[in-house]
Subunit: 212 residues, 3 copies
């Protein structure tokens, strides 16, 4: 049993690292497209990778921030930015974008679950907890786009992203109500969110547009 748990922990860590790297890379790509300088590239990558979780910690009044407890995450993204500026070329951009779809979807699921979990642990009502989960998963990308002077992609590209996190978040909140063990709820939320997201990309699902 203990072995399973330690396996679970390792898996969780791997997903967190992959998700953080994918979020940071999405920031890097956008900053490069907007021709920002070295400082801009780093800041946008940091915002994309840590913005959602920081906003969650701020709203839930949690200190220290997760990147203070795990300062190696900051170093990791800093190194990633340096490597990307040395080796990433424009013709790699599209390849990179494809390559991060999977870790990005997994990261979305994990970060959503973490937001819902922390909010429920603080005794928040279910709707608030789910919105906190969506915020954790999505607002890194929102801040990334706002700082690059764009309308956030997640608000106007008509592809389900926040909606997947919303569904996965309700699933987590429901399983929490049933008193299931934490890792099962986490796994279900992760699978549902990432699964929905990848399915939506694959089948090219569209969100309903505003009817005029």
């Amino acid at each position: 049993m203990l072995e399973i748990q330690s396996w679970g922990e390792t898996l969780r860590l791997l997903v967190e690292l992959a998700g953080t790297a994918a979020f940071a890379l999405s920031g890097l790509l956008e900053a490069a497209r907007k021709r920002l300088d070295a400082v801009g590239v780093c800041v946008v990558a940091f915002l994309a990778a840590f913005g959602g979780g920081t906003l969650r910690d701020l709203l839930l009044d949690r200190r220290p921030f997760f990147w203070v407890e795990h300062v190696e995450l900051l170093w990791g993204v800093l190194v990633l930015c340096g490597l990307a500026m040395l080796f990433l070329r424009q013709r790699h951009f599209e390849v990179t974008e494809k390559a991060i779809q999977w870790p990005d979807a997994l990261g979305l699921g994990l970060f959503t679950a973490s937001g819902v979990h922390l909010a429920l642990s603080d005794g928040m009502p279910a709707l608030v907890a789910v919105l906190m989960g969506v915020t954790t998963g999505v607002f890194g990308g929102v801040l990334r786009d706002m700082v690059c002077n764009e309308v956030p992609t997640v608000f106007h590209d008509h592809r389900p992203y926040a909606v997947c996190a919303f569904a996965g978040g309700w699933l987590y909140a429901g399983l929490w109500q049933l008193d299931l063990p934490g890792w099962m709820a986490l796994l279900a939320c992760l699978a549902a969110t990432a699964g929905l997201r990848l399915l939506a990309l694959w089948r090219n699902w569209q969100l309903p547009a505003w009817r005029v």
Copy 2:
């Protein structure tokens, strides 16, 4: 006496609901104009309705947030978004904008008063309290415009809006100093702010422009 107080409470609740709905609708309209998808429409409506109060609570370090204590407000705005996406058509936009001028002005007054009140209760200096009131009333709209990639309307349309809240806020702070009962200060701030705003719209008052 008790009857008056309960009447006052009911009135206050009605103004709060009307103001929140008006703020949310202003977000809905802007999101629809920018052709955001369903997710974008909801987020912008939430930001417009709850952004100012959330920033106030964050700056004053108040937890739980007012929308955690009154989670029915979140549900209400969520339902409003759904209804609007079903029934609101483009040709209704101008009508809606006119229709929300009154509740928007009342909401501005009430939210300003709430910001000043909470800051003064925390022992803040008068200027800080007044600025906190203006922030509560105005920053929902600022966040709404920022996320839609616009310069905030309230900063460049030359129509008095924040200025009305500023005046109403000083009135509240002054009456607080005189130890008047809370409901009188609230009523005065509400009347002054909303009255100034509606007068400014009616007489087409303009803020001084930057002299070149």
Copy 3:
């Protein structure tokens, strides 16, 4: 010895006032260029002057905010905005921009040192403290540009600014480790940051661009 300390305090206060005024003026100029109205001018000046320190206090969970403890700073910027709207003309803009380069560089150094100092006092790791210092120095300008619907200058003008603060911040953190008296670390950070910034402007140094 006491005399030196009181001299130091006076000097520090002067730098803080000059830096705050320079930051506020940078906000005023940008707001004037974007043709904002009186409200917009004031808000952008406030954001530029107080945004970085407020974000620092928010992230470090420090209350009261520094502008609550020193409410005279708020009054000062308010008066500055009034005077600027009366007396500043478009043909003065370039002169003003030149004139604030020195106080702006000094302010950057001082605010960076203050951010690093407060974060280290809270027991943060060095990297977090340095980033907090950079945030304190730089994010006022970032918020100013975001609210004016521009990509923040500091992210794309290829001139070292945040990088100077980053270097100065590490210097402060290093001297802190050596247990030097606070005023020496402050002075070194101030001199290094402002010196690097002014040297970079004078020699026209460029940050490395993204290699395509």
